[in-house]
Point group: C2
Chain length 356, copies 2
């Protein structure tokens, strides 16, 4: 496989803490419901799964935000629940309620049956990666991703979103052996899945530990971080002649920043509760940091967007031997006015030049 | 007003970092739906508001957990939304959806109309405090409480629970002047409200900043903590010849622990993501700490409950010049088996004796 030469490597260089002329920017969920063209493609596809499982549609929506905004990376359009879906748990997206599994994993029998799925069932993801990489034409790098073993496990056990994580935590405290087995299967599946994305053309990968932050101190390290680390250690960090940096993002994980930075990843994503100046001191520039504007700032109007964007860049400070990738602290809201993103991109790129 | 002499002051002494024979225990939402007798009283009252607004019912449910379990404090049964209800926002509890306001505060006109309510409208709360204190007969101290100005403001502006706080954050970033005015009114109302609870017999007070943790670093200090501090500074810390300690709890606030400890409070409540050993080092024993077992541990069975309880006590370490009040990191779940609380109380009281 050969791909067009990369024209903008600012994102990849920042992740590896190499000199760059400005702070690169991309947004979690940048291909999404706040864009009218996304909603149009989704309507054509008929459903979220129809969109994610069709490489042409996935490619189209991945490219949409790049046509509108000056962003420094693309991210594969997909979902963190593709792996358990391939395991046979029966993923469905119920309107207004989010993802649900027809066959959640709750009993000893359920756990015993669980296996790393045949990656052939996820070929549509790898096909999308290759197609997007080709269609990008080297404009910006393509990010692949997966959920962390714990976060994916939350959905597998709860069967849907939860506000108290009672089922997975009950298993964690009463039958930790069962949960460890689920997480081990998830970790092995995630290693194969991300390595296949890398082989298909992903130029960086990100592990989303969206729910690790709901765990108690101690439990986080044992049931979330240990498996994220296993995934990081299992990844092919070189592909098609280039380094493939790895980003780990734990929402609500600022308390464990040093531990997360120690997984072997190249960069740590931070939500908006973290102070970037303190965070940078804590990781001593051993990893790059990604983040961390509150997505709700994009509702505040132009003056607030520019001011809060400058605050994030100022908090990080002169880049020196560090690395900073600008992002939101969480996915962009579906209610965001698209013009707010254009203002954000303008401010990040212009204001940050003085810090490099 | 005179009250029966206090027989168990372990909770109050721990809050003030004075020597105690064991670690005292109470649970956030200890009077609640996990107790069949609570559900029976609530059914008699007809509704949540009927329960909270009737001093006899409020007294009854406050005392219920103390009849079952060996707890070291009682907490007034009430709600953090009594103040905006008294402001005329029209509180209602919709089955399965939680609290809602008929008249949320969103426009410049809404904000201009907002005023500190006549405390006479909250007399039912103060009557409940006095009745409970008498009925307790000095068995354990009674805690009064209020929401933080920001947390109460979230509900006033959003009109109900929210998962993105879009409306209040839009106001915060686009019209900070309006939000500051709301928070100022809330702070003044909360000072009057808590001082009236103290005058009525509350022996300690707690400020629940349940949603401060959703704010960005910087915004938290300006829009939540500054007003919590104002409340703490306005409180009468002596009443009926005794000191009245103040606890501040910000869920998800571990990143700002030093700032919170600096508000002038006696104790800081912590959720389960914090490590008590690190937290104690950060506050250098200048305040007591309250917490921080994950409420979901109570679903893990006896062995896990005892083990995780010991972990919390061990993390705090030998008490020395510090102070530790055992609690959950958040309210007890309505699905908790009551017998789990009896196991917890037994383990806290027996295991902690070696640390004092």
């Amino acid at each position: 496989m050969s791909f067009p030469a990369l024209q903008n490597d600012v994102f990849l260089r920042a992740l590896m803490r190499q000199p760059v002329p400005y702070t690169p920017l991309w947004l979690m969920r940048q291909a999404g419901r706040y864009l009218p063209e996304y909603n149009q493609t989704r309507a054509q596809a008929g459903s979220f799964l129809g969109l994610a499982q069709n490489p042409e549609y996935a490619c189209e929506v991945t490219l949409q935000p790049l046509r509108r905004f000056d962003l420094d990376a693309a991210i594969l359009f997909s979902d963190i629940l593709t792996i358990p879906h391939a395991m046979g748990l029966g993923l469905d997206f119920v309107a207004g309620e989010g993802p649900q599994f027809a066959h959640p994993v709750r009993t000893e029998q359920d756990v015993a049956k669980l296996q790393v799925p045949d990656m052939g069932k996820l070929q549509y993801v790898f096909d999308a990666v290759t197609l997007i990489r080709k269609e990008l034409g080297g404009k910006v790098p393509l990010i692949g991703f997966a959920g962390s073993p714990f976060t994916v496990g939350c959905y597998m056990i709860e069967g849907r979103g939860s506000d108290d994580y009672r089922l997975i935590k009950t298993m964690l405290y009463s039958r930790p052996d069962l949960l460890h087995r689920i997480l081990e299967v998830n970790a092995q599946a995630t290693i194969q899945y991300l390595n296949a994305q890398i082989a298909a053309g992903a130029q960086a990968v990100m592990i989303f530990d969206s729910w690790g932050g709901v765990l108690a101190d101690g439990a986080f390290q044992e049931f979330s971080l240990a498996y994220t680390r296993k995934v990081v250690e299992g990844l092919n960090r070189q592909s098609h002649g280039a380094a493939v940096p790895v980003i780990v993002f734990t929402k609500g994980g600022a308390a464990w920043l040093e531990d997360i930075a120690d997984t072997g990843c190249d960069a740590v994503g931070l939500d908006w509760t973290a102070n970037l100046s303190q965070a940078r001191r804590r990781v001593a520039d051993k990893v790059a940091l990604q983040g961390n504007l509150d997505p709700m700032v994009l509702f505040g109007g132009e003056a607030a967007i520019r001011q809060q964007t400058r605050k994030v860049i100022d908090d990080f400070g002169p880049v020196g031997n560090g690395g900073h990738v600008f992002n939101l602290g969480h996915g962009i809201s579906r209610f965001t006015p698209p013009e707010a993103v254009a203002i954000l991109a303008d401010e990040v790129h212009s204001y940050s030049r003085s810090k490099h």
